[in-house]
Amino acid sequence: MPQLDIRDLHAHYGREPVLQGVSLSAERGEVVGLIGPSGSGKSTLLRALVGLTQPSAGEVLVDDRRIDYRDRASQRWLRERLAIVFQQYNLFQNMTVLRNVTIAPLEIQKRSKAEVEALATTLLDKVGMGHKRDAYPDELSGGQQQRVAIARALALRPEILLLDEVTSALDPERVNEVLDTIRALTREGITMLIVSHEMAFVREVSTRVVMMDHGRVVETGPPAQIFDTPREDRTRQFVSRILRH
């Protein structure tokens, strides 16, 4: 039984279809890399999974339980298991680094202050931001903010982590510090869906790669297949264009 099972998912922006029947599953501990051109629906897929974009058809199962995105309780249940890190970091600007990380576990999950603060300290150290716990987001670089955002997502103790182009808004010099952080996480057995344009990175950390185009899955396979011996023309074309640089 896969931990995350997406079946024939559709979504629209207005009348524009952005997901046209995506099926995809992830076993516990798997790292799934999502690649494809801009507008292929990768980010929308992640947004639909957390319920920020309402799917128009299809279903999502987490631990064999069907998610009803119109039902608040079902959404709550889902969001207790699933965390997302966005391209634009999305930290709360009015809170310190520490508060950003602790607010949801404390105020929403109602966990104990001692436990949460200890965990936050550990996580911030892990992403290399322990020395900035009292800083505000606007005092940090993009890469630093993104690492805090990752710590914030992990503090929820999610079973599945979604990463939506987390390095594409960063200075090239800052990309590696964030990739290093994610690389370390992939060894911890947390299930991940990673949307990224860093092909070398996707190839290195993914157990499976999914190629998307026009709101559909074009091809799925181990990294070696997708990047070296793709079966579909569209994948070959995309990969060769990207890797030529």
Binding site: V50, G51, L52, R76, R79, E80, A83, I84, F86, Q88, Y89, N90, L91, F92, Q93, N94, M95, I103, A104, E107, I108, Q109, Y136, R152, L156
Partner: protein, 224 residues
């Protein structure tokens, strides 16, 4: 000008006038905080509420920001007793001021509510925050910080605007000044002293608001 200034009579009434200043401040505080509470609801409804609610709030704001506050209070002052509601002049003035400031504060706060980044709202939603928690933890702190300066200015405007209450027989600073000047007939002296009291109040208020902003909301406004 052959006028002999004589401040003795006015200064003798200083404690009485200062008592009036306290009433002025009370009026401003009530108008500000009650208005801000209503205004916050108005701003949230105007931005995130359903269409009919947005329209209703828009109409309210348009009406109250396009008619003079004085006219609004006059209307209440004479209309309410006709409707069988008998209130003291102070209560009547307070109701009028709150309704008026709520309209202005809806507009001021709306600018802040609109400026909350969608990204933060989405992050809050995915962290499982309820609507109330989003308002409390994300929207409100952001709004306060963004529009702290116009909010402070508006408070000063309310302090000065409270002088209108004198017309309805409320004994705040201006009202007491009128009382004093009609008995000692030292109008110039009385009102110059009152002007200085107003300046002192607004100066102290600006200074404390700026310090509060710096301490609580990281607003780095220039104080001088």
């Amino acid at each position: 000008m052959n006028y002999d200034f004589d401040y003795a009579d006015v200064l003798q009434q200083l404690p009485y006038l200062l008592g009036g200043a306290l009433v002025s401040l009370q009026i401003a505080f009530v108008a500000f905080f009650a208005g801000a509470l209503l205004g916050l609801g108005g701003a949230l409804g105007r931005v995130h509420g359903p269409r009919p609610l947005q329209r209703a709030i828009g109409a309210y704001v348009t009406f109250f920001t396009n008619t003079p506050a004085l006219v609004q209070v006059f209307f209440l002052y004479y209309a309410l007793p006709d409707a069988g509601v008998l209130l003291s002049p102070l209560t009547c003035v307070l109701i009028g001021f709150v309704l008026n400031s709520a309209a202005y504060l809806t507009e001021i706060l709306r600018a802040g509510v609109v400026s909350v980044r969608r990204a933060e709202l989405e992050a809050a939603a995915t962290l499982n925050m309820s609507r109330l928690q989003i308002v409390r933890h994300v929207i409100l702190p952001h709004v306060t910080r963004m529009i702290y300066a116009p909010l402070s200015n508006f408070f000063i405007i309310l302090v000065l605007g409270s002088s209108m209450a004198a017309l309805f027989g409320v004994e705040e600073l201006t009202g007491r000044a009128i009382n004093v000047s009609t008995t000692n007939l030292r109008t110039i002296e009385t009102f110059s002293v009152v002007a200085v009291i107003y300046i002192l109040i607004t100066f102290v208020a600006s200074l404390s608001l700026a310090l509060l902003g710096r301490w609580a909301f990281r607003v780095h406004a220039r104080i001088f």
